[in-house]
């Protein structure tokens, strides 16, 4: 029914669909992953809200938590740097893309150092662990789940950045890099929810 010439033309159309605004399998797949992850986080957030103030022993969130301003600023601005990296790759500037992604990685590392310092203080000085009280349980579970997602994103971004320097990254990989940036934006959006729930409502 379709002549061969027409077929290759179709294939060409399908290939060119990648990287443009059209639906591609990879894009739909990433959206699916993000929906599933959002559903996972929603349950931890609901558990956190439901268990607020139900701890039978201290310390309470008001006593030990303070808003992580620096970490939040770093993580949220890393969404901007990753978007700039994708834009650079779209224009063919591979090295510049690598630089922006490296900046993203550094910002994320600052965020994670902040989290690590907070956890160290809570565990060693305040004596709050995941088993101390219900607050400890929900806090470490929710913040830890988010931090583990930051680490996954960090590894992916660091790899792409390394590939940019080793010239393995090419403009043809735009869609893949863009999808990693989608994941990264999602992790940032989750942080806004976690920040609101844990450090604003929960304190």
């Amino acid at each position: 029914m379709i002549p061969t010439a027409r077929m290759s033309e179709l294939t060409a159309q399908r290939m060119s669909a990648h990287g443009s605004g059209r639906l591609s399998p990879a894009r739909v797949g990433m959206v699916g992953l993000i929906v599933a992850e959002a559903s996972l986080f929603a349950v931890f957030v609901v558990a956190y809200l439901y268990d607020l103030g139900k701890s039978l022993s201290g310390p309470s969130p008001t006593e030990v938590l303070s808003v992580p301003v620096l970490g939040t600023v770093c993580l949220l601005s890393s969404s901007v740097t990753v978007a700039l990296g994708v834009r650079a790759l779209g224009r063919g500037a591979v090295r510049r893309c690598g630089a922006w992604l490296l900046a993203t990685v550094l910002l994320a590392v600052v965020f994670l150092i902040g989290t690590a310092a907070e956890w160290l203080r809570l565990i060693t000085r305040e004596g709050l662990t995941i088993g101390t009280s219900l607050f400890g349980t929900t806090f470490f579970a929710l913040v830890g789940l988010h931090a583990s997602h930051v680490i996954v994103g960090l590894v992916m971004l660091a790899l792409i950045s390394a590939f940019a320097w080793s010239r393995a990254l090419r403009p043809a990989h735009l869609e893949r890099v863009e999808l990693v940036s989608w994941y990264w934006h999602f992790v940032d959006a989750v942080w806004i929810v976690v920040l609101t729930v844990v450090y604003v409502i929960g304190r």
Binding site: V35, A47, G131, T137
Partner: protein
């Protein structure tokens, strides 16, 4: 018009000359959606046999009052592993296995969007299943003789806490279901991406076969409803291994929260298993009634409605925990509401059959039994949504009867119908109609003999999950009847297995299109070549093969 592929040599011919190891290797490393689909369905059927054996032991124990064939402890393990197996290792792999096989063929694609992710999903599922069954050896580690989980398939807190469930049996349940869940979510994402981006030319959403539509809805439901179970299971892991307190009431945690999280997954799961049944039926009934499906847009709309509503009904499993009148009323209302789209579909199927030239081949027989038994299941479901009635009958055999009518009477029947319908496509050989009839009638009789009496036992007050009962309650007769159904069902399954083995060797050659059907999978060879279609098909209506066979009267203008 060349969308019918020329009869190509089956991909097996070359492989068959190779040795057994080579052939096994081919299956292990495959990323072909058809092979993975077959492996899903076959492993699902193997687990079905195992879970059926477990159920038979339980029925044997319950035949008469006060029997002592198994101990209470063993009985607990049996119903836990039976339920877990049936839902996660039979239902899920079979419905997703069929989707694996059929969705790319039906939309004219060459494979799923992510073939390697697909293989990952299958192997993770199989690993999870083996892990669950390894618990029979390793549940209590070196201390006991080994034990399987015994906390029920929904593993309520606080029974799953360290204090009440020492050893590792509960962890086997938890970890095995957690990993199968990852595989299922991956496969669902794969199905969504395939359906949305890889349809052949001309196949708009409104021309997709209903099977594909409904599997799209199912995959969407899975992506949203399964991660909450994974989240709850991660919490349970933290509770059991790191001393967290999510479900520990003594530290302020909440056991009821587990119920909410579990059923927020658990009720959509019922529809994740049932809607694929609807999907198969929606392909089988039109072909064997020789009519277009009645009300295609309405069935699509009803499927979407079921998808949305199924997310809002979960707490009807929890009327007896004391949620209070407003919540009870809300969940009762949503539960009754979901019966509406489901009822619409039943009318659509019946209306499709009405005035049709019905051929009662084996797939159609199973479809007819499905209609009747699913109606019964739906009616008991709606009555269980009435809160006071639910309070009376919750956790009784009435509930056991209800969900076995759903999952066996409706889902397993449609699966058997689907196997008879698509077996020729997957193997190139027809299953024997004569043995198929024996299989069908023995299974109908056996199924109803086992599960109908459970309604009465339940209404007489028999609780579920008891390992025995006193003789003076009037439950003996109904239990005896229920157990009498077992040999009929076992004989039916045996005949089915014989049928498969015989037909694989000596069955009638099927040809491309043995049922004179209309969807794209019948346009290619049986079994289809690895690449499915030589050239990408082009469709102009919902029934591309009708258009091909009747160029004088194409479907398009009538849609």
């Amino acid at each position: 018009m060349s969308i019918i592929a020329p009869p190509v040599a089956t991909p097996g011919t070359l492989v068959e000359r190779a040795g057994l190891v080579t052939r096994l290797h081919e299956w292990v490393v495959t990323v072909d959606h058809k092979r993975l689909g077959i492996m899903y369905v076959v492993s699902g059927l193997v687990f079905f046999l195992i879970a059926g054996l477990e159920a038979s032991v339980m029925r044997w124990q319950l035949t008469s009052a006060g029997s002592t064939i198994v101990s209470p402890q063993v009985f607990n393990r049996l119903f836990t592993v039976h339920g877990t197996t049936m839902v996660f290792l039979v239902g899920v792999p079979i419905v997703f296995g069929f989707a694996n096989y059929l969705v790319p063929l039906m939309i004219g694609a060459r494979d799923l969007a992510f073939p390697r992710l697909n293989a990952f999903g299958f192997w993770v599922f199989l690993f999870g299943g083996l892990l669950l069954y390894f618990s029979f050896l390793g549940g209590d580690g070196l201390y006991g003789a080994g034990s399987a989980p015994d906390v029920g398939w929904f593993a309520y807190a606080p029974l799953t806490g360290r204090a009440f469930s020492p050893g590792n049996s509960t962890d086997y349940w938890n970890l095995s279901i957690l990993v199968t869940g990852f595989g299922t979510v991956a496969t669902s994402i794969n199905l969504i991406a395939t359906t949305l981006t890889m349809r052949c030319r001309g196949m708009s959403l409104g021309r997709m076969p209903l099977y594909v539509w409904m599997m799209l809805v199912v995959a969407g439901m899975t992506v949203m409803a399964l991660p909450p179970l994974s989240a709850a299971q991660i919490m349970l892991l933290l509770d059991r291994f790191l001393g967290a307190h999510f479900f520990d009431t003594q530290a302020g945690g909440s056991a009821v929260m587990w119920q909410h999280f579990f059923w927020f997954f658990g009720h959509p799961e019922v529809y994740i298993l049932m809607v694929p049944g609807f999907a198969m039926i929606s392909e089988i009934i039109p072909v064997f009634s020789r009519k277009v499906i009645f009300g295609y847009p309405m069935i699509v709309a009803a499927s979407l409605a079921i998808g949305f509503l199924s997310m809002t009904v979960w707490a009807h499993h929890m009327f007896s925990v004391g949620m209070g009148a407003p919540l009870n009323a809300a969940f009762a209302a949503s539960t009754m509401l979901i019966a509406v789209p489901t009822g619409i579909k039943i009318f659509n199927w019946v209306a499709t059959m009405y005035g049709g030239r019905i051929r009662f081949a084996t797939p159609m027989l199973f479809a007819c039994a499905f209609l009747f038994q699913f109606l019964c299941a739906g009616l008991t479901g709606v009555t269980l949504a009435v809160v006071p009635f639910n309070w009376q009958l919750t956790d009784s055999y009435f509930v056991v009867a209800h969900f076995h009518f759903v999952l066996v009477g409706a889902l397993i029947f449609t699966v058997f119908g689907a196997i008879y319908y698509w077996f020729p496509k997957a193997t190139g050989r027809l299953l024997s109609e004569r043995l198929g009839r024996w299989h069908f009638w023995l299974f109908v009789v056996g199924f109803n003999l086992t599960f109908l009496p459970m309604h009465w036992a339940g209404m007489l007050g028999m609780p579920r999950r008891i390992y025995t009962y006193p003789a003076d309650r009037g439950w003996d007769f109904w239990n005896l009847l229920a157990t009498l159904g077992v040999p009929f069902q076992a004989a039916a399954i045996l005949i089915f297995l014989v049928n498969v083995v015989i037909s694989l060797r000596r069955g009638e050659r099927a040809g491309n299109d043995p049922w004179d059907a209309w969807t794209l999978e019948w346009a290619t060879a049986s079994p289809p070549p690895a690449y499915n279609f030589e050239t990408e098909p082009v469709v102009a209506s919902r029934r591309p093969l009708w258009d091909l066979k009747h160029p004088d009267d194409p479907d398009g203008p009538h849609e």
